[in-house]
Symmetry: C2
Subunit: 479 residues, 2 copies
Amino acid sequence: MAQEKKLVEAITSMDVDFAQWYTDVVIKAELIDYSSVKGCMVIKPAGYAIWENIQKELDARFKETGVENVYMPMFIPESLLQKEKDHVEGFAPEVAWVTHGGLEPLQERMCVRPTSETLFCDFYAREIESYRDLPKLYNQWCSVVRWEKTTRPFLRSREFLWQEGHTAHATAEEAEERTIQMLNVYADFCEEVLAIPVIRGRKTDKEKFAGAEATYTIESLMHDGKALQSGTSHNFGDGFAKAFGIQYSDKNNQLQYVHQTSWGMTTRMIGAIIMVHGDDSGLVLPPRIAPVQVTVIPIQQRKEGVLEKAEELRAALAEAGIRVKTDASDKSPGWKFSEQEMRGIPLRVEIGPKDIANNQAVLVRRDTREKTVVALENLAEETARLLNTMQAEMLKRAAEHRDAHTYAARTYEEFRELIETRPGFVKMMWCGDEACENKVKEDTSATSRCMPFAQEELGDICPVCGKKAKAMVYWGKAY
Amino acid sequence: MAQEKKLVEAITSMDVDFAQWYTDVVIKAELIDYSSVKGCMVIKPAGYAIWENIQKELDARFKETGVENVYMPMFIPESLLQKEKDHVEGFAPEVAWVTHGGLEPLQERMCVRPTSETLFCDFYAREIESYRDLPKLYNQWCSVVRWEKTTRPFLRSREFLWQEGHTAHATAEEAEERTIQMLNVYADFCEEVLAIPVIRGRKTDKEKFAGAEATYTIESLMHDGKALQSGTSHNFGDGFAKAFGIQYSDKNNQLQYVHQTSWGMTTRMIGAIIMVHGDDSGLVLPPRIAPVQVTVIPIQQRKEGVLEKAEELRAALAEAGIRVKTDASDKSPGWKFSEQEMRGIPLRVEIGPKDIANNQAVLVRRDTREKTVVALENLAEETARLLNTMQAEMLKRAAEHRDAHTYAARTYEEFRELIETRPGFVKMMWCGDEACENKVKEDTSATSRCMPFAQEELGDICPVCGKKAKAMVYWGKAY
């Protein structure tokens, strides 16, 4: 019990200091280690296995929509980065520059990709000639580098892993359709697999991607009431096409510019899982994304038959398609419980001599700690059922939490009061002027998260300036 | 037919100019495109899908042996790279250096990883404390950069994709065992999946990895008689552990150094597939690695019922677990045949009005062009059988080619004659002195490929210097 306490005590309570709680979980659940490279992390097996599952799920969903994977160089020559004006202004201040190759200085310096629009455009300009070559629906899985000053594991690091989709289309309509389609792929993935409910909407011009005509986003709410941008999908119109000269000849043999999109999701989502579902005992993984869904923990494992029975149960669960491990180490059961909880493994199966005598096992849910005594012949079925229930309830709980922390403001005074005292989203009308966004940010440090697709009518004026309102906006303090 | 000719004529015959044939295939089979980044390539969907299959197969084999995936930073601070003397000497001349982050110069420059031994060692030094922490069996999938002067798609490029496994063990024996185990994983993968027969052996000291105690290799022979190093597995002993201070306390509470290994396989294997199996019509993919195994090509597809039947056959093959596509584009059948052949798709199914009337289809093997007329009710079964036969025969043919181009030399004169006139491996005894290796290289440009595990006795002296022989060596000209 002393050991057990030690493991849990090592975590700061989330109510005391949420940021410290987050860092503690990331380390104690063995998701990452800090590295000797400032601002970069080592993603350890327990963290990387979550990313592998995210990749598998997303990649299958992309491919269902016709997307193919490719790989672009990791370097961007400076002249290429500079071809689209807004884009270079957005990214140049935060890239890492390679100046020497081997012992020689380079003729032209290159940055390590912060994102690959320029490389895809350069490629598409060579690759696309006719309407028959369209659409191009490409994606790549890779790491990118942005030289951030302040970093936090998963949420903001100098190097992170992601996927970036880049498509080229014959018409503006088709590009817009693809932009929304991929946003919906992200949203469905977050809700169905990560049990994270999201708000789908459009970014204001101030918050959109450097070079985009429109940026769509899914925004989620963390347990501490802060917002997290969880995935974005950009419609570039023909801006990049004009900068890079990407033209195709249409059916009438006329040259036309293509219309492009890009969309990305990153290892940041591991941070979201932690901050939406975690508790003071550590990580809580939604069953569908958990690398290990069930730990079988033998009780009094030196007693005859216990380890054998534990292995029998593990095999039966694995046979039923459940990702399961046995912890047969020489640690105490209490220590094993704490460890399984810290790592967020959705269910544990406790099996000891008494259980064996009664032909039963005890199932304990990670999220609610609810115990269920199950007859051994029903174990696989009951485990699968509990995993499904837990997945559904985690989404429901997160949605309830999000809804309970979403407020509406009809005056700017009310907005300021809410944003300062109630962590969460605040909905308020907006005139469309960047000046009002800037004022909100200066006054409160909150930013516009998105103009949700599901608009509500909270009055007809912008409470900040009193002018006519154009849209309802979700505001929040963000990671 | 004019079109058809055009596609094939665009390829140089391999007998005329093998290097040009290789480049033609790489481009015409749409595996890569050159990029604006000198020495780096764009891997296109048809190329990347092969890599995805290689990853899937290798990753499953690694995990079966207990390996877990992680992700390390892509940058290595200069001071970290310098910790192991041989290692830095081997790699420093060919790395890319990052000197600026954002607008500021870095305090210490960093290279883009050419390989990650130093990062893993730095991590292990923090991570490993007790014998309970061992072994560590980690792998990562990533891209690495080596600033090569001369580059060729897949075979040698400034950036390439690979996996690098890095393990740490309590004892020298365990490290050696793991080194050989992973070499065998590579060898089995090459033979079973890529249909590429390999020679397993040990590198001479001159050819071993910078910092390794022993490097093991699998060597394969390309169609033009040149050797290709296809995968390597290194035993580091405790050299890196001493340089980085990686110690564990053993069961008697004594501090011990760990023993380490690393092993890697790269996108270069796509080059090997091309050069072992390809022919003058293009790529030939072994069925087990082919992203698309079968193309259904409708003949006279405007005739009623043809496209429907083609779709029916495609669905039946997909249902049987075969990776299949239909080419229903408006190109001519001849053009479609050429394209399917160029891309190396193992089988095509031809289905036209006459076939439908006779309740049959024509199956054509890519490698032998052999045609089989099959009753439609047997199509899936016969297709699966032909794919298996083709896989086995491709390996057999490659092994026969390799054996027919492997020679034994008992005198140095004979060796020089063979190496100059007969492209292939030449086996010859060797005294163990680097001077003799250097002389062979100067005289012939051939290098020692490996000391094979399957040693043969070709005399008891080294034909180069006349001293006592220590081992039989495979020599060859290499990519």
